[in-house]
Amino acid sequence: MKKLINSPDEVLTDALVGVAAAHPSLTVNPSDRYIARAGGPTPGKVGLVSGGGSGHEPLHGGFVGYGMLDAACPGEVFTSPVPDQILAATRAVDSGAGVLHIVKNYTGDVLNFQMAADLAADDGVRVEGVVVNDDVAVENSTWTAGRRGTGATVFVEKIAGAAAEFGADLGTTAALGQEVNDRSRSFGVALTPCTVPASGKPGFQLGEDEVELGVGIHGEPGRARGRLTSAREIVGVALDAIHADMPLSGDVLVMVNGLGGTPLIELYVVYAAVAEWLAGHGVWITRNLVGNYVTSLEMAGCTITVCRLTPQLTQLWDAPVVTPALRWGR
């Protein structure tokens, strides 16, 4: 294992110290382990709290700021946060207007956020949740824990965050977050595995000419293994899977997201193929993101997320946002 760390046990703590030092607009609570906006809760505004295992940076801490999250709760690498820290963050950001939890659909994340929500409700904080489950690679059936939450989490956090900033109430903010999730689908491909610092070994092995299709963002293997072909062919597999699940039409927001170990030039090669495929199917990309937003440590590969936009969602996407990892319009 070659990593720029001080010790496998201290990675999260050391990184939080770095986040605090790099971003004066954020406040990092080292004992309760959450990252929040430095100014405290915005009066009258619904608070947005997300969180999950670390190793996906900039998700979620990099999306704390004006127009997006109020707080993020990082767990250990690839391990969901514990209820205590989610509860502390929820209390810290509640202005009285209630708090929306944005949770990726993994058993651990859902259980820990639910426990925190129950405890917050006991304190009189109104909490609603949106569970993001956009990954089409997982069959949503009695045979699985349900679809995973991946790239669409960024869309939900941005659009629900904009709505809350405009003064939407808790129910409206939650409904918009749910709408974004329902209109979004993702598919991931990995070229290499990644190594959790505490384990020291790669999560799986891949041959020189192999790719993991339908991979998750936690170093867990995907559903199938394929040959490494051209970017165009791999994009075809991903978009065919998305299109089969949710027929694409009209205006879309597309994110080509690097998993941590793929250079931007390759992401643009992928984006070109995505644009070509969608244009060939009469689908128009009106908004896009290309870059590393939901990573999986140093894994090489990408996820492709497509959201079918409405005029309202486009407007909220365009609304000002000022966070370490996403900023425009202000």
């Binding site: 295992g53 767990g75 250990e76 690498v77 690839f78 391990t79 969901s80 946060p81 514990v82 209820p83 205590d84 993994y106 058993t107 651990g108 259980l111 820990n112 426990m115 690679a137 997982v138 069959e139 009695t142 045979w143 699985t144 824990a145 995973r148 959790v196 505490a198 384990s199 070994k201 999560g203 799986f204 998750g216 936690h218 170093g219 867990e220 293997p221 995907g222 559903r223």
Partner: protein, 215 residues
């Protein structure tokens, strides 16, 4: 079982998890996300520390404290599942000592907590596949009038058998379920740590039973 033995049980689990940490993580690498050993180790180490200067009034208090600590430190699904189970077991043992039928009833409350939170059933390739047969074996022994030590040994044997039986199963819950049929052939890490919990109970109560018998 008294408060000292309850504490010894938790210490024995912590020692077993420490010893098998890499094995648990290795099993989790195959079908999960390679953190089960690390997380369990962090949680049970914290539980041992929390119990060190704690003066419990009941057997249950030890286990409730353990469960609360696990929820606060483990994370993932294992935190709420193990933490909730220990809290449920503890709440059912609101006494200074507990006999085999009382422990059987408490263990049943622990399983009910896991089933409710995890929405899983036997055969889903989870902790339940070790826990359910362990509970059945414990209960059978307790009903037959066996002492705690014998019941716990039977439970540990059944847990290990259940653990091994998870290998050919296809996962239907948790992260392993994302793999579909590719989860087949790998022993479940959660069932494996559950077997460690029951083996630790057998070692705690079994040795005590033997020493009591020798007296």
């Amino acid at each position: 079982m008294d408060t000292d033995l309850a504490r010894t049980w938790v210490q024995a689990i912590a020692a077993a998890v420490d010893q098998h940490k890499d094995h648990l993580t290795q099993l989790d690498s195959a079908i999960g996300d390679a953190d089960h050993g690390t997380n369990m180790h962090r949680g049970f180490s914290a539980a041992v520390t929390a119990l060190a200067d704690y003066e419990p009034g009941t057997v249950g208090a030890v286990l409730v404290k353990t469960g609360t600590t696990l929820i606060s430190t483990v994370g993932g699904a294992s935190g709420p599942l193990y933490g909730g189970a220990f809290r449920a077991i503890g709440k059912a043992l609101d006494t200074t000592t507990a006999d085999a039928p009382q422990v059987a009833a408490a263990l049943a409350a622990g399983l009910a907590s896991i089933e409710k939170l995890g929405a899983a059933a036997p055969g889903d390739k989870t902790m339940i596949d070790a826990y359910a047969p362990a509970l059945a074996a414990f209960r059978q022994q307790a009903d037959a009038g066996a002492d705690l030590g014998a019941a716990a040994v039977a439970a540990a044997d059944a847990a290990e058998e259940g653990m091994r039986a998870t290998a050919p199963m296809q996962a239907r819950k948790g992260r392993a379920s994302y793999l579909g049929a590719r989860s087949i052939g790998h022993q479940d890490p959660g069932a494996t740590s559950t077997a460690l919990v029951f083996r630790a109970l057998a070692e705690t109560l079994g040795s005590r039973a033997e020493s009591l018998g020798a007296r």
